[in-house]
Symmetry: C2
Subunit: 287 residues, 2 copies
C-alpha cells in the first residue's frame, strides 16, 4: 500500500476533478470506470494516472473515493464492495449523508462519509476540471467507530484539494443541505408551476414577456435537473419535509401580515431577511 496512491470510483465532474488536481500535486491516481468508452476518453483527458474498467485497480490504494451518483453509493454493487481493500480508508461524495452511513457502516470498517460541495450542472467524463474545490466547503461526517487516522486521511485529502473541511454529524449535515440546497429546488419549482399553470392565458403570455432577473434567479434551481430533485427528495425525505414544514410557517406568517395590512411589521420582517442574507452570503457576493 502506498500512501500516495488514491483510488477514485467514477470520473465524472467530481471524480474527474479530484483526479486532475491530485495528480498535479504528486499523487498516483487509480481510476475505476464502468464503460470502455469512458475509460478511453478519461485517459485522453488525463483524469487519472491509470484508468481501468476492472475493480482490481483499487487494490493497494490507501484512500478510495466513491465519486458515484447518490443512488449508486446507497446501492453499491457487490463487485465494487468486494474489490475495496479492508486497510484502505473509503469515502464518498454523496450530497446526503445519513442513508449513506447507514449502508456503509455495515460494508466497510474504515468508511467515512464526505460531501465536497462544488456543484455545477455539468456531468460525465467531459465535466472534470482543475481547482473545482478551491475554497469550497468539504463536509466530513465521521462516526464513533471511525479511527483517528481515517479521519485525518480525509481531512488531508480535502486540504490538498484546497477545500475547507468541516466535520459534523450526518443528521445535522442532511438538515443543513435540506434547508440550503434542497428546499430552494421545491420553492423555485412551485413558483414556476404557479406562474405557468393558471387558466388565464393572456396573463401567462404577459408574464413570459416581462419575466426578468428577479424571476430568473428565484426560479433557477427550481427549473434544474429533474433527476437531481427526485434523488434529493428520495434520499433526504424527512429532512426536506421538515424544512418544508418550517417554510410553510414562514411564508404563511408573511402572508398574514399582507392580508391584515401590517405594514410596519412586514417592513421589520423584510429588514431582518435583508440582514439574514448578508450573514449568509460573502460580502463580495451581495447584490
Amino acid at each position: 500500500m502506498s500512501l500516495n496512491r488514491i483510488g477514485i470510483v467514477g470520473l465524472g465532474l467530481i471524480g474527474g476533478s479530484i483526479g486532475l488536481d491530485l495528480q498535479k500535486i504528486g499523487y498516483e491516481v487509480h481510476g475505476l470506470v464502468h464503460k470502455e468508452q469512458t475509460r478511453e476518453r478519461a485517459k485522453e483527458r488525463g483524469l487519472a494516472t491509470i484508468i481501468s474498467t476492472s475493480p482490481e485497480i483499487l487494490s493497494n490504494c490507501s484512500v478510495i473515493i466513491l465519486a458515484l451518483p447518490l443512488s449508486q453509493i446507497v446501492h453499491p454493487s457487490s463487485e465494487l464492495t468486494n474489490a475495496l481493500p479492508r486497510h484502505a480508508v473509503i469515502t464518498d461524495v454523496g450530497s446526503v449523508k445519513a442513508p449513506v452511513i447507514e449502508v456503509w457502516k455495515e460494508l466497510h470498517p474504515r468508511f467515512i462519509g464526505s460531501h465536497p460541495m462544488a456543484g455545477t450542472i455539468e456531468t460525465g467524463v467531459e465535466a472534470g476540471r482543475r481547482n473545482l474545490f478551491q475554497n469550497r466547503p468539504w463536509i466530513i461526517t465521521p462516526g464513533k467507530n471511525n479511527d483517528e487516522d481515517s479521519l485525518n486521511a480525509i481531512k488531508e485529502l480535502a486540504s490538498a484539494l484546497g477545500s475547507n473541511w468541516i466535520t459534523t454529524d450526518p443528521q445535522t449535515h442532511d438538515e443543513a443541505v435540506a434547508l440550503i440546497s434542497h428546499l430552494p429546488i421545491f420553492i423555485g419549482a412551485a413558483l414556476l408551476k404557479t406562474v405557468s399553470e393558471g387558466s388565464n392565458q393572456d396573463l401567462i403570455k404577459l408574464a413570459k414577456l416581462i419575466a426578468s432577473s428577479g424571476f430568473e434567479d428565484t426560479s433557477r434551481v427550481g427549473g434544474g435537473n429533474p433527476e437531481l430533485g427526485v434523488a434529493m427528495a428520495t434520499h433526504n425525505t424527512s429532512a426536506i419535509l421538515s424544512a418544508l414544514d418550517s417554510y410553510f410557517s414562514s411564508i404563511h406568517s408573511l402572508e398574514e401580515m399582507i392580508r391584515t395590512n401590517q405594514w410596519i411589521k412586514l417592513k421589520e420582517e423584510l429588514k431582518s431577511t435583508q440582514q439574514h442574507r448578508r450573514s449568509f452570503i460573502k460580502p463580495n457576493k451581495i447584490n
Copy 2:
C-alpha cells in the same frame, strides 16, 4: 408647445436614464426635482437640458413623465398636479398600475399609465445611465377615455428609448407583476426566515458555511430593499394575495408528492417546471 419638449418629474434611476437617452436623440428635456442639491448634481451629470425645482418648468412640455416613487405617484402634491398643462400627455413609471389609474383618471384627462421595466437596485441622482431601457419591456395601460394621440405619444417615447412596448389593462398588468416580480420577494424572504430563525444554532452555523449559488439566487430578491417590498405589498395587495394563494396550492402539491413518496409524479412535475422555465427565460439566459 413643442413636440420635442419632454418633462420629467424626478431624476432618479428611471427619470435620469430617460433624460440622458432623450437628449442624445434630440429631445429638449425639462427636469423637475425637489431639492436644490439634487438640481445641482443632476445639472453636473447632464440628466436634462434644463433642470429646476420650480414646477413652472413643465409648462409647454408635450409629454410629462412622472418618474417618482410609487407612493408619490399615488399621492401627488397639488403643487405638481396644478403645474401639469391640460394639453400635455402625462405618464408615470410606477410598477403597479390599477391604484395609479384610479387616482389619475380624476386628475388629468390625458394621463396614461406606463411601467418601463428596467429595475436595478440603485436609486437617486447618481443612478441614471444611458441605454437602461434598450430591449426591455415597457408596459402601457391605456383606459377607454384615452385618445389615440396620447397613446401614440407614449408608444413613440418607449420606442425612442429602445424599449419594446406592450399594451394591456391595469388589472392584468398588476396580476402579472404580482406573479413575476412581487411573489419572488416573499418566496425568497420566507426562505431566509426559515433558514435563519430555527432554534438549532449548530444547524444555522453549518447552513451559513455551506450556502452556495442555489441559495444565493433563490434568496436574492427576498433579501432586497425592505421599502420596495412593503410598497409592492401596500399598493398591489389583492394581486399579491391571490398569487400567494396559487403558490400555496403549488407548493403543497409538491410537498404531498414527497410525503407520499410519489417519485414518478414528482419527476414529471420537475420535468414540467424545467420546461416552463425555458419558456420564460431567453435561450441565452438559461443556466
